[in-house]
């Protein structure tokens, strides 16, 4: 049973079906990647999780119980379309938003001071938001999202607008928060950070779940029988006895090293190939090629489009 579960969520807008029986199950303490092309229905799903909009049908469970309006106090949300009151002072505004989440004023003040120190933004406390740059505003928003120490965090494109230094800083904080026991739902188009951070993913498009599961499993599932081999010397594998059981995709020689990419066909096992190679020369490495999330993303979305047609 997941820490947060959405079951058979359906949301119909006047002219299109935004979510069509979507399921997600977020394990406790994990980082859960919510992926999908633009307009797939991610924002709708996130809004439903935050109880901003209500689903037409389906079930939402948080910590094993039905999601209640009071649960917003345990949820932190950093929307993709985010902003602050431009004319309000940074500190005052952070305090207000923290109190809206149910924190007492004194406690909020104490925690804010700590975060402002950590992010080295204390001098901004009395500045108006409109005086800050976009990246600076993002930092403030991140603090506001995590300040009430929510049990479930939802980050929608948390790194957009950050320079690499700040991206690293925020990443570090997200991992720290997870270590403390928080569960995180993470939506982004940056597949690099998905591979780096996520334990589980779900990929939705056109309101339907296309893939769901632990990221390693997903990647392995999408791995074909492709291997990458590097060895010393120059071996003519084409003449080998089993050459009809594999196909060479790529063959490169450089500085006395040969790198080969092959697709295995039929019943041939990796050991059979290794045997041939061991006789032919000095093997440096033999790896199964695991596809990146980027590749999987493109492939899955394309295939589903073809299927629809």
């Amino acid at each position: 049973m997941g820490y947060f579960v959405a079951k058979d969520i359906v949301k119909q807008y006047s002219n299109h079906l935004a979510l069509d029986k979507v399921n997600i199950s977020v394990p406790k303490g994990s980082i859960y990647g919510l992926l999908g092309p633009n307009g797939a229905g991610k924002t709708t799903l996130i809004r439903i999780i935050n109880q901003i909009t209500a689903p037409d049908s389906g079930e939402l469970k948080f910590r094993g119980e039905k999601l209640k309006p009071e649960d917003v106090a345990y949820i932190g949300y950093l929307p993709e379309e985010r902003g602050l009151y431009k004319k309000m002072k940074v500190g005052e505004q952070a305090l207000y938003l923290a109190q809206l989440k149910g924190l007492q004023r004194q406690e909020a003040l104490k925690r804010l001071k700590k975060w402002f120190q950590k992010f080295e933004i204390e001098p901004w406390w009395n500045k108006k938001v409109e005086e800050l740059s976009k990246g600076m505003q993002q930092k403030v928003q991140f603090i506001i999202t995590v300040l009430h120490e929510p049990k479930l965090l939802i980050f929608d494109e948390p790194f957009s607008g950050f320079d690499p230094i700040n991206t690293a800083l925020v990443k570090k904080e997200i991992l720290k928060i997870r270590k403390k026991g928080a569960t995180i739902i993470f939506s982004t188009h940056d597949m690099g950070s998905v591979e780096e951070l996520c334990d589980n993913i779900t990929l939705i498009d056109n309101g339907k779940t296309l893939i769901e599961g632990p990221i390693d499993k997903v990647r392995n599932d999408y791995a074909s029988n492709r291997y990458e081999i590097i060895f010393e010397g120059n071996v003519n594998l084409l003449t080998a006895s089993l050459s009809h059981l594999y196909k060479i995709v790529e063959n490169q020689s450089k500085n006395g090293l040969t790198s080969l990419t092959i697709d295995l066909m039929g019943d041939i096992s990796t050991n059979d190939v290794l045997n041939i190679l061991l006789q032919a020369g000095q093997v440096r490495s033999f790896n199964k090629v695991i596809p990146g999330m980027n590749e999987i993303f493109i492939k899955v979305v394309k295939d589903s489009k073809i299927q629809e047609k």
Binding site: I52, E81, R82, L84, Y85, L100, K101, Q141
Partner: protein
């Protein structure tokens, strides 16, 4: 519930702390007090400056002492002075002007001239011509040799001043003033119209600001859209009340101090006694004519004072606050719905029409209410919630049965609840919609989501 107070607090404080709010709150009473105090001050200044006019010429003998002096005018009858000489040096002698009356005056009415260095005001010329006309009329009448002409004239002279007296159900009689009732009706109707517009538009701008700055999504992940909307509406209502009360208090304070400083001997009470005094002295001094000239004014003033006292101020001020709040709340919900539907202020115009038209209608009907407070359109509009705040306020000074007042207030309150409920439905969809401006049809659909 706690959250809605947080929203109200923010909406209230962020506006009250604004420089523009402080400036407006301070400047308006200065301006208002200026309107009240400056004319009174100018008037009091004028009276201290007495203009002396020399009356000369052969005809002046006929009118010796017949042009009465007033507070600002004094006439010296220099029947023996040389008119041509005086014309050249009247300023040195301390005269404002020289009035030349030729002996032909009885048959050539134009044979009278006023020489002065500055253009004399209408007051001066009409005072002189009135006095002379009266005297010539009298002379001419005397020429007919009718016995007891003075007595006859006095007897036929009549002065009509309608006094309005209201009889309540208990038979109690109250002197009232139609003018005062009209004034109250007019001012309160206009005030409600203006305040509703000013503060309603603030609600709309606030909603648009939250939407365009995209903070709204963060907010409604913590509070319900309805709480956010109501918090804003109520917060701004408090801003409006604060400003309104400060305006009244500050205006009264400024008028009070200004009176004490500039016009130490003028306040309503003493103004009255002054008039009475001058009348009393007039009785002793000259003929009853002067009294007769002032008597209607005195009656009117006393009537007004009595009417001011007899007005049920508690009812008027209490109703004003209720109708101002009720009307504002009703319209503010509409303003909030409009603000949520658009991305910027220029797009609001199309949706403002259904708000502006009933408001304007209410204002126009309330204006017609002082001519005919019991016409059927006024009667019904004082129950329709969109117009009742203005129209009922216009009816109240003319007297409204208690049950009608209560019914109208209850309808207004219930409509506000219904309107807030409907507006919240549009609002919670609208604030999350970006891009295309919705049509009325789409907004209608949102109601059913």
């Amino acid at each position: 519930m706690n959250k809605i107070f947080l929203v109200i607090k923010r909406e209230y404080l962020s506006r009250v702390k604004k420089k523009s709010f402080i400036i407006m709150t301070l400047l308006a009473p200065v301006f208002l007090a200026g309107i009240i105090i400056v004319p009174a001050w100018l008037m009091s200044r004028e009276t201290t400056d007495v203009k002396k006019i020399a009356v000369v010429g052969e005809g002046s003998r006929l009118f010796n002492g017949k042009i009465p002096s007033t507070r600002s005018l004094k006439f010296d009858f220099l029947t023996d002075a040389n008119p041509d000489e005086l014309k050249n040096n009247f300023l040195e002698q301390g005269y404002y002007g020289v009035l030349m009356i030729s002996p032909k005056i009885t048959y050539i009415p134009n044979a009278i001239q006023l020489y002065s260095q500055k253009q004399p005001t209408m007051d001066i010329t009409s005072h002189i011509s009135n006095a002379l006309e009266k005297e010539i009329e009298r002379e001419k009448l005397e020429a007919y040799n009718i016995e007891d002409i003075d007595k006859i004239l006095k007897e036929i002279k009549s002065d009509v001043n309608v006094q309005t007296i209201l009889i309540s159900d208990t038979g109690e009689e109250k002197k009232t003033s139609t003018g005062l009732a009209m004034g109250i009706a007019y001012i309160s109707g206009l005030m409600i119209y203006m305040l509703t517009f000013i503060f309603g538009a603030q609600v709309m701008r606030g909603v648009i600001e939250e939407k365009t700055s995209r903070i709204v999504e963060i907010l409604i992940s913590s509070v319900k859209p309805f709480q956010l909307m109501m918090g804003k509406i109520l917060g701004i209502a408090l801003v409006g009340l604060t400003q309104f009360i400060l305006w009244i208090v500050l205006t009264l304070a400024i008028v009070g101090t200004a009176q004490a400083v500039l016009l130490p001997d003028m306040n309503v009470g003493s103004a009255r006694s002054q008039v009475v005094e001058s009348v009393m002295s007039g009785v002793n001094e000259s003929a009853g004519e002067q009294v007769q000239a002032i008597q209607p004014q005195l009656n009117e003033l006393q009537g007004l004072l009595q009417a001011i006292k007899s007005m049920n101020w508690g009812l008027i001020i209490g109703s004003f606050l209720i109708y101002f709040l009720g009307g504002y709340l009703l319209y503010a919900s509409l303003f909030a719905a409009v603000g949520s539907a658009v991305d910027n202020e220029t797009d609001t115009q199309q949706f403002m029409i259904p708000i502006t038209i009933p408001l304007l209608l209410g204002l126009f009907v309330s204006m017609s209410a002082f001519q005919n407070p019991d016409s059927s359109i006024v009667y019904w509009c004082s129950f329709i919630p969109f117009t009742s705040p203005m129209v009922m306020m216009a009816r109240i000074p003319f007297g409204v049965p208690g049950w009608e007042l209560a019914l109208s207030m209850i309808i207004l309150l219930l409509s506000f609840v219904g309107m807030a409920w409907l507006a919240a439905k549009i609002y919670r969809i609208g604030i999350l919609m970006y891009g295309k401006k919705p049509t009325y049809k789409e907004m209608f659909k949102w109601l059913r989501y």
